[in-house]
């Protein structure tokens, strides 16, 4: 699709009537912090950044973009690992960090209404005095915002039992790409008519911007039982997961880290994990005390039979947090082992985890690059971390190729190219390998029905012709012209 050129001057002039100078950034030095998100391999220079402080300002910004046909992207804390909040070159970034108010907390009805810039972890903090919490827990939760979590249907370590963001958003007020305002969902767990909200959550910012979000809160579990088991091989840890599943237990979380990830976590936060482990398994039970105590005995039998050479139980809340701290820090910790790395996110059927890990090891050798593995084993969600040195010629390209091979492997094994990070910028071309042309065309028709000019987060998620956008391989014309760059 070809898009008409933008009349910059008149757009910026009208923008200045909505946003005062301190909340309207258009100078190079002001824009540079917004040029990339957590997928730092990509950079793009937006035309301007605005920082709305109310839903009304978001609506006016979107309507102005629609009038001038300026592409826009909403951005929270910029923690997207798929490049989902990367600016559209020459487009508007609508930064939502200042919209960080808790609009309503109703402990009796167990709902919270927040603005999109509200930080994930702060929902649980606000709910804690009432014995409640917000379940989705992406590793980025101390920083990432609810608006971003909603757009990318963020997951976390506890998805198997209680689902992803989509399962915890009850309603949203949304400005559609052409400026109409709609309310999707409500305050009930149920609805009638098509689940429009279900479609909107996880639509990667392509269908509009949510400016008010209603979340469901859960009672805090009475008891946690967190087990850390160390194994001499990854296969043993994988088999332990299968044995837990076969036992009929339903843990809140089952996580595996391999030796490279363990090494990184130790270096970063001194988690005190068992020495010499080739794989660590974390299993967490949660619920009512008598039930958890009974399940813990059953789990102990399963783990004992699984060949773990060391098993630790968290004896206190502090010990539990320490176990999780190492796990949640693993991504950033890998930065200590390598100057650069790509965090990949793929899903395979749980029973094929062993095969997937074996193939990843083989690919790692073939490409001559180290791969650390951290994964949500309970739901088959792999997070291979591909380590490389961007200063060595060709190494970034090799790392990207390896990461792509891992995604193809996930598709081949019957899984998905993303469990929780979204497609964004990074995986656009793989979406067409996971879905057929008719599938993508149906999704495109939905997108164009809501956004005929493809303004809202243009260039993301769909493969190919949605440009102008970056290309993963080789220099883009805009890159050669110095408009965009990647590190």
């Amino acid at each position: 699709m070809r898009h008409p050129p933008v009349e910059k001057a008149s757009f910026l002039a009208e923008l200045s009537q909505i946003f005062p100078k301190d909340r309207r950034l258009d100078q190079a030095a002001q824009l540079s912090p917004y040029e990339s998100d957590a997928l730092t391999a990509f950079r793009a220079r937006p035309l301007a950044v605005v920082l709305p402080e109310s839903g009304e300002e978001v609506i006016r910004a979107v309507r102005l973009c629609a009038k001038h046909r300026v592409p826009f992207v909403a951005r929270g804390s910029g923690t997207s690992l798929s490049g989902g909040s990367l600016p559209i070159p020459g487009g508007l970034v609508i930064g939502l960090n200042r919209m960080n108010r808790l609009l309503k907390l109703d402990p009796k009805e167990r709902i919270a209404v927040v603005e999109p810039g509200f930080i994930n972890l702060n929902v649980s903090k606000a709910a804690e005095p009432h014995g409640l919490y917000y379940a989705p827990d992406p590793s980025s939760q101390p920083v990432s915002t609810i608006g971003g979590n909603l757009a990318f249907n963020s997951g976390g370590a506890h998805c198997l039992k209680y689902g992803m963001t989509s399962n915890h958003v009850l309603g949203a007020k949304v400005v559609l790409p052409e400026g109409e305002v709609v309310e999707l969902g409500g305050e009930s767990l149920e609805g009638v008519g098509p689940d429009w909200l279900g479609l909107f959550v996880g639509s990667e910012g392509l269908l509009g911007i949510a400016f008010e979000i209603t979340l469901r809160l859960l009672p805090r579990p009475e008891r946690y039982h967190t087990v850390l088991a160390a194994y001499r091989s990854l296969e043993q840890a994988g088999e332990a997961v299968a044995a837990v599943v076969a036992s009929g237990l339903l843990p809140g979380a089952m996580e595996i880290m391999d030796s490279l990830a363990i090494e990184a976590a130790e270096a970063a936060v001194q988690a005190g994990y068992p020495k010499g482990a080739r794989a660590l398994l974390i299993v967490e039970l949660e619920g009512e005390t008598p039930e958890v105590e009974a399940e813990a005995r059953e789990l102990a039998r399963v783990i004992e039979a699984s060949g773990a050479y060391e098993v630790r139980l968290a004896q206190s809340a502090e010990e539990r947090l320490k176990i999780w701290k190492g796990r949640k820090a693993a991504f950033s910790a890998v930065g200590r082992l390598s100057p650069d790395y790509i965090v990949q996110d793929g899903v395979v059927p749980r029973g094929k985890l062993g095969q997937a890990l074996f193939e990843i090891e083989r690919l790692s050798e073939a490409y001559g690059l180290r791969v650390a593995n951290v994964f949500h084993a309970g739901d088959g969600n792999l997070h291979p971390l591909v380590l490389y040195d961007g200063k060595r010629p060709g190494e970034l390209e090799r790392a990207e190729a390896l990461a792509g091979e891992i995604l193809r492997l996930c598709i081949r094994l019957g899984g998905s190219i993303t469990g929780e990070h979204g497609v964004g910028m990074e995986k656009r071309q793989y979406l067409g390998e996971m879905f057929g042309e008719d599938d993508l065309e149906a999704m495109r028709r939905i997108r164009r029905a809501l956004d005929p000019d493809e303004l809202s987060n243009r260039g993301k998620m769909f493969p190919g012709a949605d440009a102008p956008a970056l290309k993963l391989h080789g220099a883009h014309p805009l890159e050669r012209a110095g408009v965009i760059s990647r590190e």
């Binding site: 767990l189 429009w196 479609l199 599943v245 009929g248 619920g287 039930e291 059953e298 029973g351």
Partner: protein, 359 residues
């Protein structure tokens, strides 16, 4: 209806595509258990009972894939052999309801209290859109964020966005032991107060139902390992302050819940009303006697209604609630507040531009 509607019974997704391309107005039908949704008003009926059967099931994955016309009862029997179940606990299984019909009507039952409703367990779909294309969305792994979430979109879609031909679901292990406590309260206020206290507590329920008539009653189902159940029942009784109650276990308990999910409350209209606990008192003040049951801690009402539907429509509107007629009417099944808006109209136009699936 005086005229006899044409009924087609496709045996493959390709035949569904062919039918969609051939007929101007179509009404997909599964088991026909929700007559208000499956009785034609001049449309050609697309009977999907020929698209039946499980395509994939690996208990270790907690996932199965089946054709949309497969009966719930068949799925439940298959899962039970491996100690698993449909956690959203769909109603009307015994009457012959199908997977596709359950998704299209968006129906969940009492046990949705524990882990969520049909929207929370659907993983993937294949559907035929209004132009006869076969479209796949979602996947068949328990976690997936690739592409638009078409599976969720189809929940509650009433066949108006496309014809479901295949669905994939996440399932869970069924608790090894369960028990049910029926507790009567002197007043609706007392029952609601207890409902709030229970649903905000760390106590976990597979079902938390409120029946307002004839006496306000909470029905609580717990489940887990058998050795923990006595201690948990004791804690629950203490939490409630030892009110008079009846405890159901074993066969009696299973039969009780099977009865609930039949929603067999005699004549009149049968409706689904999504609700919140905060609206129950106002609703009850105006509904009068009759069979009804609030599921999932006051989030889902199944209601039997014998008066004219217009009266209920007005009542729901005044409380800002929508409703879906499942049985008893051939008028539009959607009553109460209007759920249509710009977002929905545009999505519908994208998937069914010719209006083949609109009534």
């Amino acid at each position: 209806m005086s005229e006899v509607a044409t009924t087609l019974r496709p045996a493959s997704p390709a035949e569904v595509q062919e039918a969609v391309r051939t007929y101007a107005k179509l009404l997909p039908r599964g088991g026909g258990t929700k007559t208000a949704l499956s009785t034609p008003q001049g449309q050609t009926v697309l009977d999907l009972s020929g698209l039946s059967g499980v395509l994939e099931y690996d208990p270790g994955e907690y996932v199965f894939v089946a054709q949309a016309g497969t009966r719930l009862a068949e799925i439940q029997a298959m899962l039970a052999q491996h100690g698993q179940y449909l956690p959203f606990d769909p109603p009307l299984a015994e009457a012959g309801a199908t997977l596709g019909g359950t998704v299209a009507a968006g129906l969940s039952g009492p046990m949705r209290q524990r882990y969520g409703g049909v929207r929370d367990f659907i993983l993937g779909v294949r559907l035929v859109d209004g132009e006869g294309r076969l479209v796949r969305g979602g996947g068949k792994v328990v976690k997936n964020a690739a592409g638009f979430d078409l599976p969720k979109l189809m929940v509650g879609s009433l066949g108006r966005l496309g014809v479901l031909v295949e669905v994939a679901f996440k399932v869970f292990p069924f608790p090894r032991a369960t028990a049910t406590l029926k507790v009567e309260f002197g007043s609706l206020e007392g029952a609601l107060e207890a409902l709030y206290r229970l649903s905000g507590s760390p106590l976990e329920f597979y079902a938390l139902d409120l029946e307002p008539n004839p006496r306000a009653t909470l029905t609580l189902r717990i489940g887990g390992l058998p050795e923990a159940l006595p201690a948990r029942l004791a804690r629950l009784r203490q939490f409630l302050g030892h009110p008079p109650e009846e405890c159901l276990e074993g066969q009696a308990e299973r039969e009780y819940w099977a009865w609930v999910n039949r929603l067999d409350w005699g004549g009149g209209y049968l409706l689904k009303v999504p609700v919140q606990p905060s609206k129950i008192a106002a609703l009850e003040a105006r509904l009068g006697p009759g069979m009804r049951r609030y599921l999932a801690a006051g989030n889902l009402l199944y209601l039997n209604w014998s008066d004219p539907l217009a009266k209920l429509d007005a009542l729901l509107k005044s409380l800002g609630l929508p409703g879906l007629v499942l049985r008893g009417s051939l008028e539009s099944p959607l009553i109460g507040v209007d759920w249509s808006q710009a977002f929905g109209a545009r999505v519908r136009a994208a998937l069914d531009p010719l209006g083949r699936f609109s009534p």
